[in-house]
Assembly symmetry: C2
Homo-oligomer: 565 residues x 2
């Protein structure tokens, strides 16, 4: 019998009433608002009201550098959350809201998989409670206000060539990357070149993910820089009198969404900032609430540990003031084999035959990446746990190699079969995480906020990425100088680089050394609260493929969704 | 003491639990889904499940040709709904969902006003349950699929110069009216000129408003024409394999939203198609449900009776198969005076001094418009009731003139002070409507679907608008011929003309005669199900003014919204 599809498994789930899930989390009923039958929102009042509840152990789920297929980080996050229940512990899971564009494009949804899923997956993957759309609206309101300001006479003296604020849509739409607006007659606005990004790439999304409350969000939105005057001075959303209305548009979106896993583990779904040019982490407020709702809060960070975990530590925890107690590094046999450099894995194509054969030596050959990512966790004072995300075709001999590498590095390690077995398959992992979290936390930020921007960039590049140093383009140098002058020098760094290598070159696998990080350009998300150096081509608006997922999504004769994965 | 603001009145409202409102409507609990505390959605299963419930009297609220300020149609709709309760009747109100763009722009919200409002007004005016955003997503998915089709090789042979499908956003953003997309490199799509409309102008919105169920919606979306091949053949959403995914994106948006008035009268809020290029009516499904939930269903149609009511009769009722029992014509002293042609009323400027003075003769001088609109109701076999929407500065002598004109025409008439007095002020109106609805309905469509397109256009122009005839541009002639050839000839007509005159010239007040309707262009919303001749400049993407409402909307120190009206 074939293994059932994610959708088939999800359809068979026995969901608990969502108010019961929220009740088990200890959330006060007066802060809960239902959205449909299976989702609730929880008001931010929970942060204060639960301040005396015992604090959960704070567990980050990260990964080694993934292949283009991804290594099952969300699935492991969900599986681990379910696994704790089998040990008699109460756990809550925190994940990002998936972007709808890729769901309709190539990628499929982001609800986990197999017997470790967040349900109902169709709600998670499509619209959910509309938070993503609220971000789109708030972002595009500011864009309309910018162009209206130009149209009405440009009293602030915006340099039309230095407007950095684009528009967003939650859609994979390559044709909108580069556009000219304001064509037509004089009444149709000022002509200029701009473009659309996907909503996940919006600074408003990043601000929402990093805010600690509504008043803080209002301030962050006011600080958003939309462009510069001809004199080089930043112009903000506050100066355009738009931050108040943007905040009003986000007053529901700021509340985390409560869902559940297939095994009724509570899940907080909130925000979905891009992993390349933004933090790739779910929201601070969801974590602050989740930390008071059980014994463990399992939260996920996007991409490998050099990307998501580094930002989790140095941006998200810097804002929240919370220290993680353990970090899981998801590793797979195929990813370690890929880091040997012997195989080429392309999304949408079958895996190479010889990668699927039993070959522990290939796993060994890719060990450097795992070692370096363990080190990256440990340099922040956090206990690493290697989670071997087991695939049906894996060989025990290959798992043994991963175990050996982890143990050589002094890291805990466990094989997890949560995809096939649900929480029961994650019990060994949950035990290892529980042990790691018992160790005294020695969490430390990698750099102080007060360090100059270049020093912060160089610290991340050399210590986390293993680069020899950093080279800046002339433009990047000018931008860094300008940001320091404008008072943005205290912001942390969110490095925009490929997630397919620890380096900035996606073709360099393992743990590359002897290279220099090239910073082509530097941008500032002043409202969200970080500076992001661009190290490579960063695509902020995906396209659709030759056969988009949307062509297969439909309703069957019973009105049930088909084709969503 | 000053009359309190709409927001102050709304804040003081004693809302009933929304499930109690739904319960009073007799809606089965298993079809209800809460969205937050004060809104529910009702599943379309209600149409079948309530088929044996007594049918309500079906009351349309329309108006004489309004001034640019609007004459209080929504306020009257809400007030009348409230008024029935004072007579011991159960009424449900059906209105459109307001577009967020104008709420953030110049217009303010659309929740009614004074003591006749839908509450909570901030939910109605901002996002509501996300239906508008779902329409945006479904619409723009199709746009992305069109441009992706071009990018992937254009197998269907779309003529790039004949693509009619644009993109939409629920935002007032003039800079997006005319744009060039697909700039950049080859990977960034095919370069072509296009633009954005406001979401209310989306054909998807019109289709959602006119559909009778999910399977019907799936078919309508499949029929949407996105453009033409170089050979002149229409290309549809079905051919682009996108209609299924669009329907999936709309599977929650198809369910009407339940809210309440200040006096706890149930309100169905659903869909907001534009009043100029689309029907300007709330949804068929909301009315089909609402007709089984009480003694009266009071439903509103946008603009004057020549526009909204004509489309309500000939498009909406043609689809639903339901016959209205009475139609209210909202009239105001200021609008009748304006139809005298002696005054110039401009939105955002104070009313002319002499318009505010007592002058029954000026009211008399504007009587032709009211007479013609009464006739327009009656030619559909429906009993008209003139509602004099009383303003605080009105004079009894002026109300008496309106009463006299209506009675001369054999129409019922009532003064309504619902704005100041709530439902108690609408009791006289409710009594008149109840009487009118007791008359045997002789509802008839103005033209059969089988008539040729030109005949339908000419019937509306001559009989409803009072034109001598219709003139077609050469382009309009070609388009009409093409539509007949393509099999779209059976569709009803949705005339796109100004709402500020019964004619196509906004400067012609009263009931103009001796003119010809110029049809410049003809378009087809094949999915929504109508052909729309363009008779004048139709703006489908508003702009922001010098001082947009968004600049005044904010949160106060207690987190309460301010500046929303």
């Amino acid at each position: 019998m074939a293994f059932p599809s994610d959708l088939e498994i999800a359809r068979g789930a026995k969901l608990k009433p969502i108010q019961d899930i929220a009740g088990e989390m200890g959330l006060p009923a007066h802060l809960l608002e239902p959205y449909g039958r299976d989702v609730m929102k929880v008001g931010l009042g929970a942060i204060d009201e639960l301040v005396d509840a015992p604090r959960a152990k704070y567990v980050l789920v990260s990964a080694i550098t993934p292949t283009p297929l991804g290594e099952g980080k969300t699935t492991t996050t969900v599986g681990l959350g379910q696994g704790f229940k089998h040990l008699g512990h109460r756990a809550t899971v925190a994940i990002r809201q998936p972007s709808m564009g890729p769901t309709l494009g190539i990628k499929g949804g982001a609800a986990g998989g197999g017997y470790s899923q967040v349900v109902p997956m169709e709600l998670l993957n499509l619209h959910l409670t509309g938070d993503m759309h609220a971000v789109t609206a708030a972002h595009n309101l500011l864009a309309a206000m910018v162009d209206n300001h130009l149209h009405q006479g440009n009293a602030l003296g915006l340099d039309v060539g230095e407007i950095t604020w684009r528009r967003v849509l939650d859609m994979n739409d390559r044709s909108l990357r580069n556009i000219v607006v304001g064509l037509g007659a004089k009444a149709d606005g000022v002509t200029r070149q701009t473009g659309f990004d996907i909503t996940a790439a919006s600074e408003v999304m990043a601000a929402l993910a990093l805010t600690t409350g509504l008043a803080d969000l209002r301030e962050r939105l006011g600080r958003i820089v939309v462009g510069y005057t001809t004199g080089g001075e930043p112009v903000t959303a506050e100066q355009l009198d738009t931050a108040g209305a943007m905040t009003v548009l986000l007053r529901e979106a700021i509340k985390p969404n409560i869902m559940q896993t297939l095994e009724n583990t509570p899940v907080l779904v909130h925000c979905g900032p891009f992993g390349n040019i933004a933090t790739g982490n779910s929201s601070v407020v969801a974590d602050l609430i989740g930390l008071r709702t059980g014994d463990y809060l399992v939260t996920e960070a996007g991409f490998g540990a050099d990307m998501g975990a580094e930002r989790f530590f140095n941006i998200k925890c810097r804002v929240s003031g919370e220290a993680p107690d353990a970090a899981v590094l998801v590793a797979t046999v195929r990813a370690l084999k890929a880091h040997s450099g012997k195989f080429r894995i392309v999304a949408g194509r079958p895996l190479p035959e010889d990668l699927l054969a039993e070959n522990p030596d290939d796993v060994h050959a890719g060990a450097a990446n795992l070692r370096k990512q363990i080190e990256n966790i440990r340099m922040h004072g956090v206990s690493p746990v290697v989670a071997i995300n087991a695939f049906p075709g894996d060989f025990a001999s290959e798992h043994a190699v991963i175990r050996e590498i982890a143990e050589e590095m002094g890291a805990r390690v466990a094989v997890s079969t949560h995809f096939s077995d649900g929480g029961a398959g994650a019990v060994e992992l949950a035990e290892a995480v529980a042990e790691a979290a018992e160790e005294k936390s020695e969490f430390q930020l990698l750099y102080p906020s007060s360090a100059p921007l270049r020093e912060k960039i160089e610290t991340i590049a050399t210590r986390v990425y293993g680069a020899d140093g950093v080279s800046y383009s002339p433009a990047a140098r000018r931008q860094l100088d300008r940001f320091e002058r404008n008072g943005f020098g205290e912001l942390p760094i969110c490095m925009a680089k490929t997630h397919l290598s620890i380096s900035s070159d996606p073709s360099l696998l393992g743990a590359p050394t002897g290279w220099t990080l090239p910073v082509r350009e530097v941008r500032a998300s002043v409202g969200a609260g970080f500076v992001y150096p661009i190290c490579g081509d960063m695509r902020t608006m995906p396209g659709l493929g030759a056969s988009p997922a949307a062509t297969r999504i439909d309703l069957d004769a019973d009105g049930e969704i088909v084709g969503l994965s």
